[in-house]
Amino acid sequence: MRLKTALLAIFLLSLADLVLYGCYCDCDFAPTGTFEICSIDLLSIDNAGGSPATASDTVLADAYAIEITLNITQEDICSHSFLMNSAFAASCNCPDAFFENRNPVTEVHIYTVNDFSTTYDAGDEVTSLFYRYLGHEYEPINSFLRPQNAASVTPIKVRALLMEAPAIKGNHSFEVELIMQDSTVVSATTSSIYLK
């Protein structure tokens, strides 16, 4: 009898807890704010070793990569604070706060500045030669340079691995260009690196 009463009490308390949370849970599914890509920074990477390192002036052509940093800025932050958002998220399993790209990237281009091979001359697009490695698979790089949302307004870093070595050895540099929805163009060029 006592056991039954105790179980009933636990059940009712759980139900009340569920109902009360349901009433007071006020998840905000709208983005916390918006962001926009202002500029990009490029860094040549030497990936010849076990871990990537900043390139000096010469890199093995098969182990060249570019670290692309998207510098983003925020604007139009919601009236409620981050603290309130995170508190709600913890108690109600609401989605984490996120920022929405108000000026999405529509096109991504990577151009070779120098003659690359018989197929790619100086000025040609070589975006399809760059990939990102994600644990157990490679993905084309352009999908990672079009962020729709961001968890926070901090620079987004993407490492683009050059998966086809240039047939023409020598100094090489690459220009990364992002075209936004409003036709704004953001671009940068890597320093010249000797790819051997």
Binding site: A48, G50, A63, Y133
Partner: protein, 278 residues
């Protein structure tokens, strides 16, 4: 209540039929003739429970794949049980059956991680996954268990007052679970990443058949309880067939190599525990 009564009756029955020989007696009593009678014609059993500490060695060459297949370099902790049935001369001769469960398993992933550079010097291990759920054909396997050793045979015991020296030998089987292991490797001087997988093809569990020998020293507190320390030797032979798969994550090219790997594993165990005489 009925259960208690049944257990009491069962224990009473066992104890009344055990007819323990006075193996630690001084041989000076008036009932020597009577004792000799049942020493020769009665039986006695013992049950040991103990803890063991095992160090294993192998005939396999160190490296891939023996580090993966055997994975036995680190000492193991074991739980041990042993049943002996003395059938002649008041326990001088006995038959026995025992088993050990390995309660600490060596970290095979780490051993494989250490061994891979010896075989693949142009690669760096980036990640290790132990995938015990599927074999190379995608069939579900259940190898998530501890190695177990079973052994049985015959032995001889020399009794001296409260002490006894117990020697035994026999056959043994040591069952080792096989796990699928995948290593993600980065090729040096390139942007290429690969997966190196090992699958044992025969069964989720490999049973190594072999021999066993042990030497124990026993001390009897009374007719019912005692303690022991023991040294065990086990040698088990294994015949492994496995597949080594090398997969280029960028191009999707893969190559498989099949190997047969034969050899033995030696297990040296020190045990201690309590004995119950039935």
């Amino acid at each position: 209540m009925k259960k208690r009564l049944f257990i009491s009756l069962l224990l009473t029955s066992i104890i009344s039929q055990a007819q323990l020989p006075d193996i630690w007696g001084d041989g000076d009593s008036e009932s020597d003739t009577e004792r000799e009678h049942y020493v020769y014609f009665s039986s006695v059993s013992s049950l040991d429970f103990g803890y063991g500490y095992t160090q294993s060695f192998r005939s396999f060459k160190k490296g891939v794949p023996s580090d993966y297949l055997a994975g036995f370099q680190a000492p193991y902790h074991t739980l041990h049980f042993n049943f002996e049935y003395g059938f002649k001369h008041g326990y001088n001769w006995f038959i026995w059956a025992g088993g050990s469960v390995y309660i600490q398993i060596a970290d095979r992933e780490e051993q494989l991680r250490d061994a891979i550079p010896d075989y693949y010097p142009n690669f760096v291990v980036k990640q290790m996954d132990q995938l015990s759920s599927e074999d190379s054909e995608g069939n579900e396997i259940n190898a998530d268990r501890s190695p177990v050793n079973w052994s049985f045979g015959a032995g001889y015991q020399i009794n001296k007052r409260s002490f006894a020296i117990n020697m035994k030998a026999g056959m043994s089987i040591t069952a080792i679970p096989n796990l699928q292991t995948r290593a993600t490797l980065k090729e040096l001087n390139t942007n290429n990443y690969h997966e190196l997988s090992y699958y044992v093809l025969d069964n989720p569990i490999s049973n190594g058949l072999g021999i066993n020998a042990a030497l124990s020293i026993r001390y009897f507190f009374n007719d019912e309880f005692g303690v022991f320390i023991a040294a065990d030797f086990n040698r088990n032979w294994y015949d492994w067939e496995y597949e080594e798969e090398f997969y280029n994550l960028f191009t999707g090219e893969s190559s498989s190599t099949f190997y047969n790997y034969n050899g033995f594993l030696d297990f040296y165990q020190i045990r201690a525990g309590v004995s119950i005489y039935l």
